[in-house]
Symmetry: C2
Subunit: 324 residues, 2 copies
Protein backbone atom coordinates (compact mmCIF):
# COMPACT_ATOMS: atom_id res chain seq x y z
CA UNK A 1 0.00 0.00 0.00
CA UNK A 2 1.63 3.22 -1.20
CA UNK A 3 1.81 6.15 1.17
CA UNK A 4 0.00 9.40 0.57
CA UNK A 5 -0.22 12.74 2.34
CA UNK A 6 -2.82 15.50 2.41
CA UNK A 7 -1.89 19.03 1.36
CA UNK A 8 -4.04 21.95 2.49
CA UNK A 9 -3.69 25.51 1.18
CA UNK A 10 -5.52 28.23 3.10
CA UNK A 11 -5.98 30.94 0.49
CA UNK A 12 -7.62 34.35 0.65
CA UNK A 13 -10.85 33.16 -0.94
CA UNK A 14 -10.79 29.36 -0.71
CA UNK A 15 -9.28 26.45 1.18
CA UNK A 16 -7.89 23.87 -1.21
CA UNK A 17 -7.10 20.33 -0.25
CA UNK A 18 -5.61 17.36 -2.10
CA UNK A 19 -4.42 13.81 -1.55
CA UNK A 20 -0.92 13.66 -3.01
CA UNK A 21 1.54 10.84 -3.64
CA UNK A 22 5.30 11.05 -3.28
CA UNK A 23 5.72 12.07 -6.93
CA UNK A 24 3.42 15.05 -6.51
CA UNK A 25 0.52 13.39 -8.25
CA UNK A 26 -2.89 14.58 -7.02
CA UNK A 27 -5.25 11.66 -6.41
CA UNK A 28 -8.23 13.39 -4.80
CA UNK A 29 -9.33 16.98 -4.26
CA UNK A 30 -11.71 18.98 -2.13
CA UNK A 31 -12.26 22.62 -1.28
CA UNK A 32 -14.37 25.21 0.52
CA UNK A 33 -14.61 28.99 0.63
CA UNK A 34 -12.44 30.70 3.28
CA UNK A 35 -14.81 32.39 5.65
CA UNK A 36 -12.28 34.75 7.21
CA UNK A 37 -14.80 37.15 8.69
CA UNK A 38 -15.99 34.55 11.19
CA UNK A 39 -12.47 34.12 12.51
CA UNK A 40 -10.06 31.36 13.45
CA UNK A 41 -12.60 28.82 14.72
CA UNK A 42 -14.56 28.98 11.51
CA UNK A 43 -11.38 28.50 9.44
CA UNK A 44 -10.46 25.48 11.59
CA UNK A 45 -13.89 23.96 10.98
CA UNK A 46 -13.50 24.42 7.22
CA UNK A 47 -10.05 22.81 7.20
CA UNK A 48 -11.34 19.87 9.21
CA UNK A 49 -14.27 19.48 6.82
CA UNK A 50 -12.25 19.55 3.58
CA UNK A 51 -9.34 17.48 4.85
CA UNK A 52 -11.74 15.11 6.62
CA UNK A 53 -13.58 14.51 3.36
CA UNK A 54 -10.32 13.64 1.59
CA UNK A 55 -9.24 11.39 4.48
CA UNK A 56 -12.53 9.49 4.33
CA UNK A 57 -12.32 9.11 0.58
CA UNK A 58 -8.72 7.88 0.87
CA UNK A 59 -9.75 5.27 3.42
CA UNK A 60 -12.55 4.06 1.18
CA UNK A 61 -9.97 3.66 -1.61
CA UNK A 62 -7.63 1.80 0.73
CA UNK A 63 -4.99 4.55 0.54
CA UNK A 64 -2.94 5.13 3.68
CA UNK A 65 -2.52 8.81 4.65
CA UNK A 66 0.72 9.50 6.56
CA UNK A 67 0.44 13.21 7.37
CA UNK A 68 -1.34 16.49 6.77
CA UNK A 69 0.56 19.57 5.57
CA UNK A 70 -0.92 23.06 5.76
CA UNK A 71 0.07 26.32 4.08
CA UNK A 72 -1.33 29.29 5.95
CA UNK A 73 -1.26 33.08 5.81
CA UNK A 74 1.30 34.29 8.38
CA UNK A 75 4.17 32.36 9.87
CA UNK A 76 4.04 29.25 12.02
CA UNK A 77 6.18 29.01 15.15
CA UNK A 78 8.43 26.00 14.46
CA UNK A 79 8.39 24.97 18.15
CA UNK A 80 4.74 25.33 19.09
CA UNK A 81 2.93 25.02 15.75
CA UNK A 82 0.96 28.17 16.58
CA UNK A 83 0.50 31.11 14.19
CA UNK A 84 3.35 33.48 15.08
CA UNK A 85 2.20 36.57 13.21
CA UNK A 86 1.54 38.23 9.90
CA UNK A 87 -2.03 37.02 9.33
CA UNK A 88 -4.01 40.07 10.41
CA UNK A 89 -6.85 39.44 7.95
CA UNK A 90 -8.27 36.48 9.89
CA UNK A 91 -9.55 37.54 13.33
CA UNK A 92 -8.00 35.39 16.07
CA UNK A 93 -5.58 33.66 13.69
CA UNK A 94 -2.44 35.08 15.31
CA UNK A 95 -1.61 32.73 18.17
CA UNK A 96 -4.06 30.04 16.99
CA UNK A 97 -2.73 26.52 17.79
CA UNK A 98 -2.96 25.32 14.18
CA UNK A 99 -0.88 22.15 14.41
CA UNK A 100 -2.28 21.01 17.77
CA UNK A 101 -5.89 21.64 16.77
CA UNK A 102 -5.61 19.65 13.54
CA UNK A 103 -3.66 16.83 15.16
CA UNK A 104 -6.48 16.47 17.71
CA UNK A 105 -8.88 16.05 14.84
CA UNK A 106 -6.91 13.77 12.48
CA UNK A 107 -4.55 11.92 14.83
CA UNK A 108 -1.77 11.79 12.24
CA UNK A 109 1.28 14.10 12.08
CA UNK A 110 0.48 17.68 11.04
CA UNK A 111 3.07 20.07 9.57
CA UNK A 112 2.46 23.73 8.74
CA UNK A 113 4.27 26.72 7.30
CA UNK A 114 3.66 30.01 5.54
CA UNK A 115 1.58 29.72 2.35
CA UNK A 116 4.02 31.62 0.11
CA UNK A 117 6.88 29.45 1.36
CA UNK A 118 4.92 26.28 0.59
CA UNK A 119 3.83 27.58 -2.82
CA UNK A 120 7.52 27.98 -3.55
CA UNK A 121 8.28 24.48 -2.32
CA UNK A 122 5.51 23.06 -4.54
CA UNK A 123 6.82 24.89 -7.59
CA UNK A 124 10.41 23.91 -6.75
CA UNK A 125 9.69 20.20 -6.25
CA UNK A 126 6.93 19.55 -8.78
CA UNK A 127 6.86 22.54 -11.13
CA UNK A 128 9.48 24.67 -12.86
CA UNK A 129 12.15 23.63 -10.34
CA UNK A 130 11.66 19.87 -10.60
CA UNK A 131 14.99 18.07 -10.31
CA UNK A 132 16.88 21.14 -9.06
CA UNK A 133 18.42 21.33 -5.58
CA UNK A 134 18.83 25.06 -4.90
CA UNK A 135 15.81 27.06 -5.97
CA UNK A 136 14.44 30.51 -5.20
CA UNK A 137 10.81 31.30 -6.02
CA UNK A 138 9.58 34.86 -6.12
CA UNK A 139 5.82 35.39 -6.08
CA UNK A 140 4.82 38.72 -7.56
CA UNK A 141 1.21 39.64 -6.84
CA UNK A 142 -0.47 42.36 -4.76
CA UNK A 143 2.70 42.11 -2.69
CA UNK A 144 5.95 40.26 -3.33
CA UNK A 145 6.91 37.17 -1.38
CA UNK A 146 9.31 34.33 -1.85
CA UNK A 147 10.49 30.93 -0.79
CA UNK A 148 13.87 29.25 -0.59
CA UNK A 149 14.60 25.61 -1.35
CA UNK A 150 18.08 24.44 -0.43
CA UNK A 151 19.38 20.99 -1.16
CA UNK A 152 15.85 20.02 -2.16
CA UNK A 153 14.34 21.06 1.16
CA UNK A 154 12.36 24.12 2.10
CA UNK A 155 14.34 26.59 4.20
CA UNK A 156 11.98 28.26 6.65
CA UNK A 157 14.40 30.37 8.68
CA UNK A 158 14.59 30.81 12.43
CA UNK A 159 10.99 32.04 12.69
CA UNK A 160 9.31 30.56 9.58
CA UNK A 161 9.76 33.93 7.90
CA UNK A 162 12.58 33.43 5.38
CA UNK A 163 12.20 34.57 1.77
CA UNK A 164 10.75 38.04 2.39
CA UNK A 165 12.20 39.30 -0.87
CA UNK A 166 9.47 41.92 -1.25
CA UNK A 167 11.03 43.85 1.62
CA UNK A 168 14.55 43.71 0.29
CA UNK A 169 15.72 47.29 -0.11
CA UNK A 170 16.97 47.96 -3.62
CA UNK A 171 16.81 51.73 -3.45
CA UNK A 172 17.94 52.98 -0.05
CA UNK A 173 16.54 56.47 -0.28
CA UNK A 174 13.60 55.44 -2.39
CA UNK A 175 9.85 55.11 -1.92
CA UNK A 176 8.33 54.59 1.49
CA UNK A 177 6.89 51.06 1.73
CA UNK A 178 3.83 49.79 3.67
CA UNK A 179 6.22 47.99 6.01
CA UNK A 180 7.65 51.31 7.20
CA UNK A 181 10.96 50.83 5.44
CA UNK A 182 12.21 52.48 2.25
CA UNK A 183 12.95 51.37 -1.30
CA UNK A 184 11.57 47.84 -0.88
CA UNK A 185 11.30 45.78 -4.08
CA UNK A 186 7.56 45.43 -3.42
CA UNK A 187 7.00 49.18 -3.70
CA UNK A 188 8.38 49.11 -7.27
CA UNK A 189 7.43 45.79 -8.83
CA UNK A 190 4.22 44.46 -7.25
CA UNK A 191 0.86 44.41 -9.04
CA UNK A 192 -0.11 47.28 -6.74
CA UNK A 193 2.85 49.37 -7.91
CA UNK A 194 2.15 48.53 -11.56
CA UNK A 195 -1.50 49.58 -11.23
CA UNK A 196 -0.43 52.86 -9.59
CA UNK A 197 2.04 53.52 -12.42
CA UNK A 198 -0.73 52.80 -14.93
CA UNK A 199 -3.06 55.27 -13.25
CA UNK A 200 -0.31 57.90 -13.11
CA UNK A 201 0.40 57.45 -16.83
CA UNK A 202 -3.28 57.93 -17.69
CA UNK A 203 -3.55 61.02 -15.50
CA UNK A 204 -0.64 62.48 -17.45
CA UNK A 205 -2.63 61.89 -20.63
CA UNK A 206 -0.93 58.74 -21.98
CA UNK A 207 -1.89 55.07 -21.79
CA UNK A 208 -5.15 55.25 -23.77
CA UNK A 209 -5.25 51.47 -24.07
CA UNK A 210 -4.59 50.97 -20.35
CA UNK A 211 -7.66 53.06 -19.65
CA UNK A 212 -9.68 51.17 -22.24
CA UNK A 213 -8.81 47.82 -20.61
CA UNK A 214 -9.93 49.29 -17.29
CA UNK A 215 -13.35 50.13 -18.70
CA UNK A 216 -12.49 53.81 -18.96
CA UNK A 217 -12.14 54.30 -15.21
CA UNK A 218 -8.72 55.29 -13.86
CA UNK A 219 -9.65 53.93 -10.45
CA UNK A 220 -10.26 50.50 -11.98
CA UNK A 221 -6.79 50.20 -13.53
CA UNK A 222 -5.03 47.01 -12.47
CA UNK A 223 -1.69 45.41 -13.33
CA UNK A 224 -3.69 43.31 -15.79
CA UNK A 225 -4.94 46.41 -17.65
CA UNK A 226 -1.33 47.55 -17.99
CA UNK A 227 -0.13 44.16 -19.28
CA UNK A 228 -3.02 43.82 -21.75
CA UNK A 229 -2.30 47.30 -23.12
CA UNK A 230 1.42 46.54 -23.34
CA UNK A 231 0.71 43.43 -25.39
CA UNK A 232 -1.20 45.66 -27.84
CA UNK A 233 1.80 48.02 -28.08
CA UNK A 234 0.58 50.89 -25.93
CA UNK A 235 3.84 52.84 -25.39
CA UNK A 236 3.03 54.01 -21.85
CA UNK A 237 2.08 50.47 -20.82
CA UNK A 238 5.22 49.04 -22.40
CA UNK A 239 7.38 51.55 -20.55
CA UNK A 240 5.77 50.49 -17.25
CA UNK A 241 6.33 46.79 -17.94
CA UNK A 242 9.94 47.48 -18.88
CA UNK A 243 10.54 49.48 -15.70
CA UNK A 244 8.85 46.79 -13.58
CA UNK A 245 11.01 44.14 -15.22
CA UNK A 246 14.09 46.22 -14.52
CA UNK A 247 13.34 46.46 -10.77
CA UNK A 248 12.34 42.81 -10.59
CA UNK A 249 15.49 41.78 -12.44
CA UNK A 250 17.73 43.82 -10.15
CA UNK A 251 16.05 42.19 -7.14
CA UNK A 252 16.50 38.75 -8.68
CA UNK A 253 20.17 39.56 -9.33
CA UNK A 254 20.57 40.18 -5.59
CA UNK A 255 19.11 36.71 -4.98
CA UNK A 256 21.47 35.21 -7.54
CA UNK A 257 24.50 36.90 -5.96
CA UNK A 258 23.49 35.88 -2.44
CA UNK A 259 22.20 32.33 -3.00
CA UNK A 260 23.95 31.16 -6.14
CA UNK A 261 20.82 29.13 -7.01
CA UNK A 262 20.30 26.84 -9.98
CA UNK A 263 17.02 28.46 -10.85
CA UNK A 264 14.91 31.46 -9.92
CA UNK A 265 11.22 30.92 -10.61
CA UNK A 266 8.90 33.89 -11.05
CA UNK A 267 5.31 33.17 -10.05
CA UNK A 268 2.25 35.06 -8.86
CA UNK A 269 -0.26 37.06 -10.87
CA UNK A 270 2.32 39.39 -12.42
CA UNK A 271 4.22 36.43 -13.94
CA UNK A 272 1.19 35.97 -16.24
CA UNK A 273 2.51 38.93 -18.24
CA UNK A 274 4.88 36.39 -19.77
CA UNK A 275 7.57 37.14 -22.32
CA UNK A 276 7.21 40.91 -22.40
CA UNK A 277 8.07 41.07 -18.70
CA UNK A 278 10.61 38.24 -18.72
CA UNK A 279 12.75 39.91 -21.38
CA UNK A 280 13.33 43.03 -19.31
CA UNK A 281 13.78 40.97 -16.14
CA UNK A 282 16.54 39.01 -17.86
CA UNK A 283 18.25 42.17 -19.12
CA UNK A 284 18.49 43.56 -15.57
CA UNK A 285 19.52 40.18 -14.17
CA UNK A 286 22.40 40.22 -16.66
CA UNK A 287 23.36 43.74 -15.69
CA UNK A 288 23.33 43.26 -11.90
CA UNK A 289 24.49 39.64 -11.40
CA UNK A 290 28.04 38.43 -10.88
CA UNK A 291 29.10 36.49 -13.95
CA UNK A 292 30.11 33.34 -12.06
CA UNK A 293 26.73 33.17 -10.31
CA UNK A 294 24.79 34.13 -13.43
CA UNK A 295 26.23 31.15 -15.32
CA UNK A 296 24.47 28.68 -13.02
CA UNK A 297 21.16 30.48 -12.67
CA UNK A 298 18.21 30.01 -15.00
CA UNK A 299 15.39 32.54 -14.64
CA UNK A 300 12.03 31.04 -15.60
CA UNK A 301 8.31 31.51 -15.14
CA UNK A 302 6.32 29.24 -12.82
CA UNK A 303 4.55 26.22 -14.28
CA UNK A 304 2.01 25.27 -11.66
CA UNK A 305 -0.99 27.43 -11.18
CA UNK A 306 -3.50 26.79 -8.47
CA UNK A 307 -1.96 23.52 -7.32
CA UNK A 308 1.44 24.86 -6.13
CA UNK A 309 0.11 25.44 -2.60
CA UNK A 310 -1.34 21.98 -1.95
CA UNK A 311 1.66 20.31 -3.59
CA UNK A 312 4.03 22.37 -1.44
CA UNK A 313 2.09 21.47 1.71
CA UNK A 314 2.37 17.82 0.67
CA UNK A 315 6.10 18.24 -0.03
CA UNK A 316 6.58 19.64 3.47
CA UNK A 317 5.09 16.40 4.82
CA UNK A 318 7.45 14.26 2.74
CA UNK A 319 10.40 16.36 3.89
CA UNK A 320 9.48 16.09 7.57
CA UNK A 321 8.68 12.38 7.35
CA UNK A 322 12.06 11.72 5.73
CA UNK A 323 13.91 13.73 8.39
CA UNK A 324 12.27 12.02 11.37
CA UNK B 1 41.85 7.20 19.35
CA UNK B 2 39.95 10.45 18.73
CA UNK B 3 39.60 11.68 15.17
CA UNK B 4 41.14 14.91 13.95
CA UNK B 5 41.14 16.83 10.69
CA UNK B 6 43.51 19.33 9.13
CA UNK B 7 42.28 22.81 8.19
CA UNK B 8 44.23 24.86 5.65
CA UNK B 9 43.57 28.55 4.93
CA UNK B 10 45.22 30.00 1.81
CA UNK B 11 45.42 33.69 2.63
CA UNK B 12 46.78 36.62 0.68
CA UNK B 13 50.07 36.69 2.58
CA UNK B 14 50.31 33.35 4.36
CA UNK B 15 49.08 29.78 4.30
CA UNK B 16 47.83 28.71 7.72
CA UNK B 17 47.34 25.13 8.77
CA UNK B 18 46.05 23.48 11.93
CA UNK B 19 45.16 20.09 13.35
CA UNK B 20 41.65 20.45 14.76
CA UNK B 21 39.41 18.18 16.81
CA UNK B 22 35.62 17.89 16.49
CA UNK B 23 35.08 20.64 19.07
CA UNK B 24 37.12 23.14 17.11
CA UNK B 25 40.13 22.86 19.39
CA UNK B 26 43.44 23.48 17.64
CA UNK B 27 46.04 20.86 18.59
CA UNK B 28 48.93 21.72 16.25
CA UNK B 29 49.74 24.57 13.89
CA UNK B 30 52.02 25.35 10.97
CA UNK B 31 52.29 28.04 8.33
CA UNK B 32 54.23 29.46 5.41
CA UNK B 33 54.17 32.63 3.32
CA UNK B 34 51.91 32.53 0.23
CA UNK B 35 54.20 32.90 -2.75
CA UNK B 36 51.52 33.90 -5.23
CA UNK B 37 53.85 35.36 -7.81
CA UNK B 38 55.32 31.95 -8.64
CA UNK B 39 51.84 30.64 -9.44
CA UNK B 40 49.69 27.61 -8.73
CA UNK B 41 52.47 24.99 -8.55
CA UNK B 42 54.34 26.96 -5.94
CA UNK B 43 51.17 27.37 -3.86
CA UNK B 44 50.53 23.62 -4.11
CA UNK B 45 54.06 22.90 -2.86
CA UNK B 46 53.56 25.24 0.11
CA UNK B 47 50.24 23.60 1.05
CA UNK B 48 51.81 20.16 0.84
CA UNK B 49 54.71 21.30 3.02
CA UNK B 50 52.61 22.90 5.79
CA UNK B 51 49.90 20.24 5.85
CA UNK B 52 52.52 17.50 5.51
CA UNK B 53 54.34 18.83 8.58
CA UNK B 54 51.12 18.77 10.62
CA UNK B 55 50.28 15.27 9.35
CA UNK B 56 53.70 13.97 10.39
CA UNK B 57 53.45 15.60 13.80
CA UNK B 58 49.97 14.14 14.29
CA UNK B 59 51.25 10.66 13.47
CA UNK B 60 54.08 11.01 15.94
CA UNK B 61 51.50 11.95 18.58
CA UNK B 62 49.34 8.96 17.63
CA UNK B 63 46.50 11.19 16.40
CA UNK B 64 44.47 9.89 13.46
CA UNK B 65 43.79 12.46 10.71
CA UNK B 66 40.54 11.80 8.81
CA UNK B 67 40.55 14.53 6.16
CA UNK B 68 42.05 17.78 4.92
CA UNK B 69 39.89 20.87 4.37
CA UNK B 70 41.10 23.85 2.36
CA UNK B 71 39.82 27.41 2.10
CA UNK B 72 41.03 29.08 -1.07
CA UNK B 73 40.65 32.36 -2.93
CA UNK B 74 38.07 31.85 -5.69
CA UNK B 75 35.38 29.22 -5.87
CA UNK B 76 35.80 25.46 -6.09
CA UNK B 77 33.75 23.46 -8.58
CA UNK B 78 31.73 21.08 -6.37
CA UNK B 79 31.91 18.30 -8.98
CA UNK B 80 35.55 18.37 -10.05
CA UNK B 81 37.31 20.01 -7.09
CA UNK B 82 39.05 22.40 -9.50
CA UNK B 83 39.23 26.18 -8.99
CA UNK B 84 36.22 27.50 -10.91
CA UNK B 85 37.09 31.19 -10.97
CA UNK B 86 37.53 34.41 -9.06
CA UNK B 87 41.17 33.94 -8.00
CA UNK B 88 42.93 36.12 -10.54
CA UNK B 89 45.75 37.09 -8.19
CA UNK B 90 47.45 33.67 -8.33
CA UNK B 91 48.70 32.88 -11.87
CA UNK B 92 47.39 29.50 -13.03
CA UNK B 93 45.07 29.08 -10.04
CA UNK B 94 41.87 29.20 -12.10
CA UNK B 95 41.29 25.65 -13.30
CA UNK B 96 43.90 24.16 -10.93
CA UNK B 97 42.88 20.65 -9.74
CA UNK B 98 43.13 21.53 -6.05
CA UNK B 99 41.30 18.57 -4.53
CA UNK B 100 42.85 15.95 -6.84
CA UNK B 101 46.38 17.28 -6.40
CA UNK B 102 46.20 17.26 -2.60
CA UNK B 103 44.50 13.87 -2.46
CA UNK B 104 47.37 12.46 -4.52
CA UNK B 105 49.76 13.78 -1.91
CA UNK B 106 47.91 12.93 1.33
CA UNK B 107 45.77 9.95 0.36
CA UNK B 108 42.96 10.97 2.72
CA UNK B 109 39.73 12.78 1.71
CA UNK B 110 40.22 16.42 0.71
CA UNK B 111 37.42 19.02 0.76
CA UNK B 112 37.74 22.60 -0.44
CA UNK B 113 35.67 25.76 -0.75
CA UNK B 114 35.99 29.51 -0.97
CA UNK B 115 38.03 31.10 1.85
CA UNK B 116 35.40 33.69 2.82
CA UNK B 117 32.75 30.97 2.96
CA UNK B 118 34.93 28.84 5.23
CA UNK B 119 35.84 31.80 7.44
CA UNK B 120 32.12 32.25 7.91
CA UNK B 121 31.66 28.56 8.72
CA UNK B 122 34.47 28.73 11.29
CA UNK B 123 32.96 31.78 12.96
CA UNK B 124 29.48 30.24 12.84
CA UNK B 125 30.49 26.90 14.34
CA UNK B 126 33.25 27.86 16.76
CA UNK B 127 33.04 31.65 17.20
CA UNK B 128 30.22 34.16 17.62
CA UNK B 129 27.67 31.75 16.08
CA UNK B 130 28.45 28.72 18.25
CA UNK B 131 25.28 26.79 19.03
CA UNK B 132 23.17 28.60 16.39
CA UNK B 133 21.71 26.83 13.37
CA UNK B 134 21.03 29.60 10.85
CA UNK B 135 23.86 32.08 10.64
CA UNK B 136 24.97 34.72 8.14
CA UNK B 137 28.52 36.09 8.34
CA UNK B 138 29.47 39.26 6.54
CA UNK B 139 33.19 39.98 6.16
CA UNK B 140 33.89 43.66 5.64
CA UNK B 141 37.43 44.34 4.48
CA UNK B 142 38.94 45.68 1.25
CA UNK B 143 35.86 44.15 -0.33
CA UNK B 144 32.74 42.67 1.25
CA UNK B 145 32.06 38.94 1.23
CA UNK B 146 29.88 36.59 3.18
CA UNK B 147 28.98 33.06 4.07
CA UNK B 148 25.76 31.28 4.86
CA UNK B 149 25.28 28.53 7.43
CA UNK B 150 21.93 26.80 7.34
CA UNK B 151 20.88 24.16 9.80
CA UNK B 152 24.46 24.11 11.09
CA UNK B 153 25.94 23.38 7.66
CA UNK B 154 27.69 25.64 5.23
CA UNK B 155 25.58 26.49 2.19
CA UNK B 156 27.86 26.80 -0.82
CA UNK B 157 25.32 27.33 -3.61
CA UNK B 158 25.18 25.74 -7.03
CA UNK B 159 28.69 26.92 -7.96
CA UNK B 160 30.41 27.44 -4.57
CA UNK B 161 29.65 31.13 -4.90
CA UNK B 162 26.84 31.80 -2.42
CA UNK B 163 27.05 34.70 0.04
CA UNK B 164 28.24 37.43 -2.34
CA UNK B 165 26.62 40.07 -0.19
CA UNK B 166 29.14 42.71 -1.31
CA UNK B 167 27.50 42.71 -4.71
CA UNK B 168 23.98 43.03 -3.44
CA UNK B 169 22.52 46.20 -4.96
CA UNK B 170 21.16 48.49 -2.29
CA UNK B 171 21.02 51.62 -4.41
CA UNK B 172 19.88 50.81 -7.92
CA UNK B 173 21.01 54.00 -9.59
CA UNK B 174 23.99 54.46 -7.31
CA UNK B 175 27.75 54.23 -7.63
CA UNK B 176 29.38 52.12 -10.30
CA UNK B 177 31.09 49.10 -8.67
CA UNK B 178 34.26 47.24 -9.75
CA UNK B 179 32.06 44.31 -10.72
CA UNK B 180 30.42 46.38 -13.46
CA UNK B 181 27.12 46.64 -11.62
CA UNK B 182 25.68 49.62 -9.74
CA UNK B 183 24.96 50.50 -6.13
CA UNK B 184 26.61 47.37 -4.66
CA UNK B 185 26.98 47.34 -0.88
CA UNK B 186 30.74 46.97 -1.33
CA UNK B 187 31.01 50.34 -3.05
CA UNK B 188 29.55 52.05 0.06
CA UNK B 189 30.71 50.11 3.10
CA UNK B 190 34.06 48.41 2.38
CA UNK B 191 37.37 49.56 3.85
CA UNK B 192 38.18 50.87 0.37
CA UNK B 193 35.05 53.03 0.33
CA UNK B 194 35.73 54.27 3.88
CA UNK B 195 39.29 55.27 2.96
CA UNK B 196 38.00 57.12 -0.12
CA UNK B 197 35.43 58.98 2.00
CA UNK B 198 38.19 59.87 4.45
CA UNK B 199 40.37 61.28 1.68
CA UNK B 200 37.44 63.22 0.24
CA UNK B 201 36.68 64.74 3.66
CA UNK B 202 40.29 65.87 4.06
CA UNK B 203 40.37 67.37 0.57
CA UNK B 204 37.32 69.41 1.55
CA UNK B 205 39.27 70.74 4.53
CA UNK B 206 37.80 68.61 7.36
CA UNK B 207 39.04 65.46 9.08
CA UNK B 208 42.23 66.89 10.61
CA UNK B 209 42.61 63.85 12.85
CA UNK B 210 42.06 61.44 9.95
CA UNK B 211 44.97 63.08 8.20
CA UNK B 212 47.07 62.98 11.36
CA UNK B 213 46.51 59.22 11.74
CA UNK B 214 47.57 58.81 8.11
CA UNK B 215 50.88 60.52 8.82
CA UNK B 216 49.75 63.71 7.12
CA UNK B 217 49.45 62.15 3.67
CA UNK B 218 46.00 62.04 2.06
CA UNK B 219 47.10 59.14 -0.15
CA UNK B 220 47.92 57.08 2.95
CA UNK B 221 44.46 57.39 4.50
CA UNK B 222 42.97 54.00 5.28
CA UNK B 223 39.75 52.84 6.94
CA UNK B 224 41.84 52.48 10.09
CA UNK B 225 42.82 56.18 10.03
CA UNK B 226 39.14 57.06 9.80
CA UNK B 227 38.16 54.78 12.69
CA UNK B 228 41.01 55.98 14.92
CA UNK B 229 40.01 59.60 14.28
CA UNK B 230 36.34 58.80 14.94
CA UNK B 231 37.24 57.28 18.31
CA UNK B 232 38.94 60.59 19.18
CA UNK B 233 35.76 62.48 18.22
CA UNK B 234 36.81 63.92 14.87
CA UNK B 235 33.41 65.04 13.46
CA UNK B 236 34.22 64.25 9.80
CA UNK B 237 35.44 60.76 10.76
CA UNK B 238 32.40 60.13 12.91
CA UNK B 239 30.09 61.15 10.06
CA UNK B 240 31.84 58.64 7.77
CA UNK B 241 31.55 55.82 10.31
CA UNK B 242 27.88 56.62 10.82
CA UNK B 243 27.21 56.61 7.08
CA UNK B 244 29.13 53.34 6.65
CA UNK B 245 27.15 51.79 9.47
CA UNK B 246 23.92 52.95 7.85
CA UNK B 247 24.74 51.26 4.54
CA UNK B 248 26.02 48.13 6.25
CA UNK B 249 22.92 47.99 8.43
CA UNK B 250 20.59 48.37 5.46
CA UNK B 251 22.46 45.53 3.72
CA UNK B 252 22.23 43.37 6.83
CA UNK B 253 18.49 44.13 7.05
CA UNK B 254 18.13 42.67 3.55
CA UNK B 255 19.86 39.52 4.81
CA UNK B 256 17.56 39.40 7.83
CA UNK B 257 14.45 39.78 5.66
CA UNK B 258 15.61 37.15 3.19
CA UNK B 259 17.17 34.53 5.49
CA UNK B 260 15.44 35.05 8.83
CA UNK B 261 18.70 34.02 10.54
CA UNK B 262 19.30 33.66 14.27
CA UNK B 263 22.44 35.74 14.09
CA UNK B 264 24.33 37.96 11.68
CA UNK B 265 28.04 38.15 12.46
CA UNK B 266 30.12 41.08 11.23
CA UNK B 267 33.78 40.21 10.68
CA UNK B 268 36.70 41.42 8.62
CA UNK B 269 39.01 44.38 9.25
CA UNK B 270 36.22 46.94 9.40
CA UNK B 271 34.52 45.10 12.28
CA UNK B 272 37.52 46.13 14.41
CA UNK B 273 35.95 49.60 14.58
CA UNK B 274 33.75 48.06 17.28
CA UNK B 275 30.93 49.81 19.12
CA UNK B 276 31.02 53.10 17.21
CA UNK B 277 30.22 51.22 13.99
CA UNK B 278 27.91 48.63 15.53
CA UNK B 279 25.59 51.28 16.97
CA UNK B 280 24.83 52.82 13.60
CA UNK B 281 24.60 49.37 11.98
CA UNK B 282 21.96 48.39 14.52
CA UNK B 283 19.99 51.61 13.99
CA UNK B 284 19.73 50.92 10.24
CA UNK B 285 18.98 47.23 10.84
CA UNK B 286 16.06 48.35 13.00
CA UNK B 287 14.84 50.76 10.35
CA UNK B 288 15.00 48.38 7.37
CA UNK B 289 14.12 44.95 8.86
CA UNK B 290 10.69 43.38 9.13
CA UNK B 291 9.71 43.25 12.78
CA UNK B 292 8.98 39.52 12.84
CA UNK B 293 12.42 38.72 11.37
CA UNK B 294 14.21 41.32 13.48
CA UNK B 295 12.94 39.67 16.67
CA UNK B 296 14.94 36.50 15.98
CA UNK B 297 18.13 38.10 14.66
CA UNK B 298 21.05 39.13 16.84
CA UNK B 299 23.68 41.32 15.14
CA UNK B 300 27.12 40.80 16.68
CA UNK B 301 30.81 41.24 15.96
CA UNK B 302 33.02 38.25 15.11
CA UNK B 303 34.98 36.58 17.91
CA UNK B 304 37.64 34.61 16.11
CA UNK B 305 40.49 36.42 14.52
CA UNK B 306 43.10 34.64 12.47
CA UNK B 307 41.83 31.15 13.23
CA UNK B 308 38.37 31.41 11.61
CA UNK B 309 39.72 30.16 8.27
CA UNK B 310 41.45 27.00 9.50
CA UNK B 311 38.55 26.20 11.82
CA UNK B 312 36.08 26.65 8.97
CA UNK B 313 38.15 24.39 6.72
CA UNK B 314 38.12 21.81 9.52
CA UNK B 315 34.36 22.24 9.99
CA UNK B 316 33.85 21.57 6.27
CA UNK B 317 35.61 18.22 6.79
CA UNK B 318 33.38 17.30 9.72
CA UNK B 319 30.29 18.27 7.72
CA UNK B 320 31.30 16.19 4.70
CA UNK B 321 32.38 13.21 6.81
CA UNK B 322 29.03 13.24 8.61
CA UNK B 323 27.09 13.42 5.36
CA UNK B 324 28.88 10.53 3.68
Amino acid sequence: MKKHVIGVDIGGTSIKCALVDINGKIKLKSGAPTDKSRGADSVFESIKAVAGAVLDAAEKNNLKVSAVGVGTPGSVDPETGCIAGGAENIPGWKGAPLVKELFKSFNIPVFASNDVTLNALGEAKFGAGRGKRDVFCIAVGTGIGGGIVIDGKVYRGAGDSAGEVGHMTVNLNGRRCNCGSRGCLESYASATAIAAEGAAACKKGGGELILEYAGGRIEDITAKSVFEAAKKNDPAAQAIVKKTGFYLGAGIANIINLFNPEVVIIGGGVSKAGGILLDSVKAAVGEYSLEINLKKAAVVLSKLNLTAGVLGAAALCWQEIEEN
